[in-house]
């Protein structure tokens, strides 16, 4: 959906609708679709079946209306009737004869001043006369209607002012039983179902938007679990799902689509919560990646708020937010971007990634009204611009957004039920992991039973659903204080304030055991740069290469997660 408030001031777009079946409800749908997009639309609805007369008469109300766009909808059902009543010896040339009529009409339309023309092509109804053999019989209906559609396409290719609304493809996508309601067709001469009318209206508005310069120009992509399956920072570049690994084909398909869009002139950008070096690794090394770094005009990988990163991308590309589409598997990220940048188109994705590509196809996000050779190297131009600028840091106040997530945290000790997942996390987490100590299940069971250790497993839920067990802490009681042997978290819930909730819980538990000091340590690895400032950000003080927090002076930090009692 395109919502540019500037359209309100622009003069209304004038659309004439010429149909040979009942079009009132279709016109209603066109109006409501236009309203949704904040497009002002003046519609002239021609009397039923008057298209030819109106087009041929230069003094008709059609031309008096001075349309910007004229939509012609001739129903395949009516064309089929004409075919069935035509002479047998003329059927082999039915399509080309009808095409001649159409071309004559177009000629007259242009000579009379015309407008841009939107023409609905013909649904390829099966007349059930020849079966599949119809393709071998030039005088069959299917042969003729298909030929006609092909000729229409060729005509559209040669006439810049003619745009086809592709009912054939749309009908195939939704299926006949969805497209038509026989009862309505027979009783009210309305040839599409009430559900299908808004879909066609949407496609018509897509074309009008694109032809009026409001097409979308940029696709911004998330990486982990959007362009590949898994988390590259945790799983490692060899283990992300791509190609034949796991559901890899799903992600390969998305990449192939993005690549084809790029070749058409859509600018690709990346906005990922990741370490930049780790995020670019698959682009550089993975053999099954369809996208490479030079396909991406602006590559932003950091730990900032995504809406800020999209602002940054926007400032480099200098295109409107309403020209951008943001693709992310994570519903919370989508909600954040929708809230902060309402003009950016953020498609809602089905929960199952195998359904993404079909859903995206139906959304028709990148309608266009032009295509030139210059479109192809647009990405290259922007890449150069991007290299001149450095990603901004600093982020807006997250409170409003975090509060809206309705997060609930539950903290428990290690149990036979969660130990397998805890073990998996200690073995796989690389990024938000302060000391990167790996444990197997047997070791974790021993720690769980040890009186000198405190073991915490943190579960998080928000209004989008459960994230499951996302953070693990292991404390060891030592003479100097409670030592944070392990503190790790899944990056999926980064910047939610989970670490603040966890620190609160830790201080409560340690106080309860009579302790008065926490000791933390950051052990750098090639992948955990993300948490190098973890302890100072939480208020710990540097002491002898470690980080200390005296519980006497501990001040709880604000967070927006409701903690479910009790603590272990």
């Amino acid at each position: 959906m395109i919502t540019s408030t500037s359209n309100v001031a622009a003069p209304p777009i004038r659309l004439a609708v010429l149909a040979d079946s009942a079009s009132q409800l279709f016109v209603q749908e066109l109006r409501s679709e236009a309203e949704k997009r904040s497009v002002r639309l003046d519609i002239y609805e021609a009397p039923f079946s008057q298209a030819d007369a109106l087009i041929l008469d230069p003094t008709s109300e059609l031309y008096a209306f001075k349309p910007d766009y004229t939509l012609v909808w001739q129903a395949a059902e009516h064309l089929l009737e004409r075919f069935q009543t035509s002479r047998l010896d003329q059927r082999a040339s039915f399509g080309s004869q009808h095409m001649e009529e159409i071309e004559e009409l177009f000629g007259a339309f242009e000579a009379n001043g015309g407008s841009k023309l939107l023409y609905l092509n013909y649904v390829e109804l099966d007349d059930a006369v020849f079966g599949s053999f119809a393709s071998k019989v030039p005088e069959s209906w299917l042969h003729q209607v298909r030929q006609l559609n092909h000729k229409l396409m060729e005509l559209a290719a040669s006439r810049p002012g003619l745009f086809l609304i592709d009912l054939v493809t749309l009908g195939g996508e939704y299926g006949r039983s969805y497209v038509e309601d026989r009862r309505i067709a027979m009783t009210a001469n309305l040839l599409f179902s009430l559900d299908f009318l808004p879909i066609i209206a949407g496609r018509v508005l897509d074309v009008i938007d694109a032809a009026s310069g409001r097409g979308r120009k940029c696709l911004i992509l998330d990486l982990d679990n959007t362009l590949w399956g898994g988390v590259v920072g945790d799983d490692g570049v060899e283990h992300i799902e791509l190609g034949s690994l796991g559901l890899g084909h799903v992600y390969t398909e998305i990449q192939a689509w993005a690549k084809a869009l790029k070749e058409r002139g859509i600018i690709l950008a990346v906005a990922s919560k990741n370490d930049p070096a780790i995020a670019s690794e698959p682009f550089e090394r993975h053999p099954d990646m369809r996208l490479r770094l030079d396909d991406i005009a602006v590559f932003v990988a950091n730990w900032e708020d995504k809406s800020e990163n999209i602002r940054h991308i926007q400032s480099i590309l200098e295109i409107g937010f309403d020209a951008m589409v943001f693709l992310d598997d994570n519903p919370a990220e989508r909600a954040l971007v929708r809230m902060r940048l309402p003009d950016v188109c953020v498609p809602e994705l089905p929960a199952d990634p195998v359904e993404w590509m079909p859903a995206l196809r139906r959304m028709n996000l990148f309608e266009t009204a032009t295509f030139t050779a210059q479109d192809v190297d647009r990405t290259q131009q922007y890449r150069q611009e991007s290299h001149r600028r450095v990603a901004r840091t600093g982020f807006a106040d997250d409170g409003e957004f975090l509060r809206s997530l309705g997060m609930v945290g539950a903290i428990e000790g290690f149990t036979p039920f969660n130990i397998p997942r805890v073990a998996q996390l200690t073995q796989r987490s690389n990024q938000f992991n302060l000391r990167t100590v790996r444990y197997d299940e047997a070791e974790l069971r021993r720690l769980a039973d040890s009186p000198s250790h405190v073991c915490l497993a943190v579960n998080l839920t928000d209004r989008f659903g459960a994230h499951g067990l996302i953070s693990v802490v292991i404390l060891e009681e030592t003479p100097a204080g409670y030592f944070l042997d392990t503190w790790l978290m899944s990056c999926r819930v980064l910047r939610r304030g989970v670490e603040r909730l966890v620190l609160d819980a830790i201080t409560t538990i340690v106080r309860g055991r009579g302790g008065h000091r926490l000791i933390g340590e950051y052990r750098p690895t090639p992948k955990n740069g993300l948490v190098s400032d973890h302890y100072p950000l939480l208020g710990f003080e540097a002491r002898d290469g470690q980080w200390c927090c005296d519980l006497k002076s501990y001040v709880p930090l604000e967070h927006f997660i409701h903690r479910e009692p009790p603590l272990p």
Binding site: R183, I184, M186, T187, A188, L190, L194
Partner: protein, 82 residues
């Protein structure tokens, strides 16, 4: 659901479809009686009623409803059928 309840539900669908919450509708109301109820809003009303009750009318039924009461009677019969 009694036939009267069904008439009331259908009346709600008609008011919503025609965008006029004040329309006076009872079992004896016909399309001629109700402002804005033409052949095309009839289609929307019929589909609205079908969705409301999760039933499906036959084409001949759609063409032959004489008033709201008849439509309600058809709905009632459809809901009662196993």
């Amino acid at each position: 659901m009694t036939p009267d309840d069904i008439v009331a539900e259908i009346a709600t669908v008609i008011r919503r479809t025609l965008g006029d919450g004040a329309l006076d509708i009872d079992a004896s109301s016909t399309a001629q009686d109700v402002a804005g109820w033409d052949s095309l809003s009839h289609v929307q009303i019929v589909v609205g009623v079908e969705r409301r009750f999760k039933i499906r009318f036959a084409a001949r039924e759609i063409m032959s409803f004489k008033n709201v009461g008849e439509m309600a009677a058809t709905v009632h019969g459809r809901l009662a059928a196993p």
